[in-house]
């Protein structure tokens, strides 16, 4: 009776992985887009009034991340000059073919919603004249008259776009999960749960990022953190964290319980190749610790300073969790050779087109845009007219 063969990788699997750290970054950024939008939608659609302080900022943050979501993909493509083929000659049997359309739709939706939400301020400033006035006149699309009727129409459309935006956000990120979940060649990816897992972790990362940015911005602007707003975001984060982690672990538990032919290698993948990034970063540090910190931090009557501390640390840890999750899915799935007999290795280089340096640079760009937006639009304004 012969046992399992020894380590063996298909020769084309040796050396590197086809999808590098850029493809880790891409779902991370789109996740932040979807998550930040959900916070804005909670306010605009679900009437979570306590989120008013961050509602406009959340929308701007979502747009900023969305604006750079394609950068990692372009850096990854080996023929980036042909990128638009994906829209000009799409092959609709490919899960990837919808990307250009879904992404463009969502970016336009976000841009229009931002222009409408900030329309009062844009029109006010467009009347100033000069170069500054010209910028706002462009943003006002040349129309600087407003009537009570036009305002009412704008608010109606903000609600409509928010309502459309929720399923659009789900499609945008669920689709990213589907890209992986639909690859039957890879048992680490091939699960129908993948789109749902990606969606939940997207919301988790977006809310966590907003908590961090909100606290930092308050410190920067020297204003007090709105305790009820922070508490509401922490509760949302806690709920979606539980959902995301439960789904992630249920998927694994299912594979382990079924104990199919692929589990022997997948369990080794977790235990040997992803031991640190999965067990410690994703499970313990990124899921368990913030679960308890958030449970404490969202209690009513807690000292605001303590809540800020717990919220900030939890937000940071959850962002690490989601980054680790993306790494474990994207890179982890490629470490297992298609021979199912051995493991590849991947250590991202720092330099080069797909290196860590460029990845960090790309990841910093949404923050630069967000800062620029905060200079030209009143992201922190919460007027009564907006609280419909």
């Amino acid at each position: 009776m012969h046992g399992q063969p020894t380590e063996f990788l298909f020769p084309n699997d040796h050396g590197s992985v086809a999808w590098t750290v850029m493809i880790v970054l891409y779902p991370y950024i789109t996740g932040l887009v979807a998550g930040a939008f959900v916070v804005a939608a909670l306010y605009h659609v679900f009437g979570k009034k306590e989120l008013a302080p961050v509602a406009r900022f959340a929308l701007a943050a979502s747009f900023s991340f969305c604006a750079f979501a394609t950068m990692p993909l372009l850096l990854h493509l080996h023929q980036p000059q042909r990128a638009f083929n994906i829209m000009f000659t799409p092959n609709f049997t490919s899960a990837m073919a919808g990307f250009g359309f879904i992404y463009s739709f969502y970016l336009i939706l976000l841009a229009v919603e931002i222009l409408l939400v900030f329309r009062d301020d844009i029109v006010d400033r467009a009347r100033r004249g000069g170069v500054e006035g010209l910028l706002y006149k462009v943003l006002a699309l040349g129309v600087t008259t407003q009537t009570p009727g036009s305002r009412a129409l704008d608010h109606k459309w903000i609600s409509v776009l928010s309502v459309i935006g929720i399923p659009a956000a789900c499609v945008l990120h669920g689709y990213v999960g589907f890209i992986f979940g639909g690859v039957k060649a890879n048992p680490w990816w091939s699960t129908a749960l993948m789109p749902v897992i990606f969606l939940c972790s997207a919301i988790v990362s977006g809310v966590a990022m907003l908590i961090l940015l909100y606290v930092l911005a308050c410190k920067f602007r020297r204003v007090a953190v709105d305790d009820e707003c922070l508490r509401s975001m922490m509760r949302t984060l806690w709920l979606f964290l539980i959902l995301a982690v439960a789904l992630e672990e249920l998927e694994l538990l299912n594979m382990a319980y079924e104990n199919g032919s692929e589990w022997a290698m997948l369990s080794r993948l977790i235990a040997e190749k992803l031991h640190f990034s999965f067990t410690w970063l994703q499970l313990v540090l990124g899921s368990l610790v913030p679960f308890f910190l958030l449970a404490i931090g969202m209690r009513r009557g807690l000292h605001p300073g303590v809540r800020i501390g717990l919220g900030t640390v939890s937000g940071l840890l959850v962002l690490i969790q989601v980054a680790a999750m993306r790494w474990n899915v994207v890179i982890g799935g490629q470490l297992l050779s298609k021979s199912f007999r051995g493991f590849n290795s991947y250590v991202p280089e720092f330099g080069g087109r797909e290196g860590l340096g460029v990845a960090l640079l790309v990841f910093s760009l949404p923050f630069v845009l967000l800062f620029a937006l905060s200079r030209i639009l009143p992201l922190w304004k919460t007027d009564a007219a907006d609280a419909h």
């Binding site: 012969h2 020894t6 080996h78 023929q79 042909r82 083929n85």
Partner: protein
């Protein structure tokens, strides 16, 4: 507003002016011409192909073997279409790696990437199974320690290449349609269209696709399409000294491959994935993936 009875030349042309024959007749002429043209253009290919079929029937030539020089692969010959297939008889492979060298020379494959390779499976008496691969051709397995018959149960070689599946995951996932299947069943890549996203590399269960370092596009075995359409054999088949690799038209019952397929028990790799490979195997064991 109505015009006066005799005042409007457009409604009531004067008697000396020729009646406007042009408009109505022109329209009818145009309709007739267009209809005739459309019918002719539609019927012509059908008539021509029927004439071809008649000619073929009259010639009563034997169905072409894909590996013979006069194939004209890809064209209908009577009612039969050429459908290429590939068979690997692992019982015959001696692991010389000539196929790999021939492939690299024929297709300019980078040194560290492979359109085809040869795996070696060694079953030891103590239960161990070792798998390794010949990466450079020229009997490179010889560089490894010789197998001692006292400790080895059995050992054999398994050449690998693109499976040119019927239900191809690689064509399915290509977002721009750069991967496609020819009418002869060969899966090819349009290197001028490929964006190099590597989704096909992920989707191929057999590890046969890669992003070519030289072209920066997806790459894989083409069954030497540029040769077989001229009636030649793929380079690997041409050089194989033992007849391990057999290529031909599986729609032709008289081709070598059809005869071997009909007379033997045939297997494919990873059949559970439902990709229906057209590269078939003889002599596989459960350990071969």
């Amino acid at each position: 507003m109505s015009c006066k009875p005799q005042g409007c030349p457009s409604c009531h042309p004067p008697a000396d002016m020729a009646p406007d024959p042009s408009r109505r007749e022109f329209v009818w002429d145009a309709i007739r011409t267009f209809s005739f043209g459309a019918l002719t253009l539609t019927a012509l290919p059908i008539l021509v192909s029927e004439a071809d079929a008649d000619d073929d029937a009259k010639a009563a030539a034997p169905p072409p073997d894909a590996a013979s020089p006069t194939t004209g692969a890809g064209k209908d010959k009577g009612k039969r279409t050429v459908l290429f297939g590939y068979l690997v008889d692992t019982n015959k492979c001696i692991g010389c790696g000539s196929c790999m060298l021939a492939c690299k020379n024929e297709n300019d494959v980078p040194d560290d990437q492979f359109r085809t390779w040869v795996e070696r499976y060694v079953y030891y008496k103590d239960g161990r199974v070792e798998v390794d691969t010949c990466t450079s051709g020229n009997f490179s397995f010889d560089q490894k320690p010789a197998l001692d018959p006292k400790v080895v149960d059995k050992a054999f070689f398994v050449p690998k290449l693109c499976n040119h599946c019927v239900e191809t995951p690689c064509i399915q996932v290509c977002p721009v349609g750069a991967s496609f299947m020819t009418q002869e069943g060969v899966v090819l890549i349009d290197h001028d269209r490929c964006i190099g996203c590597a989704y096909c590399v992920q989707a191929c269960p057999f590890g046969t696709r890669f992003i070519n370092h030289k072209t920066n596009t997806a790459d894989k075995c083409t069954w030497c399409y540029h040769r077989v359409v001229k009636g030649e054999k793929p380079a690997c088949v041409e050089v194989c000294p033992t007849g391990t690799r057999i290529f031909g038209d599986i729609n032709d019952p008289d081709s070598d491959i059809s005869k071997v397929l009909a007379a033997n028990r045939i297997d494919v790799l990873k059949s559970y994935l439902g990709t229906r490979p057209k590269t078939r195997y003889m002599g596989l064991t459960a350990e071969v993936v």
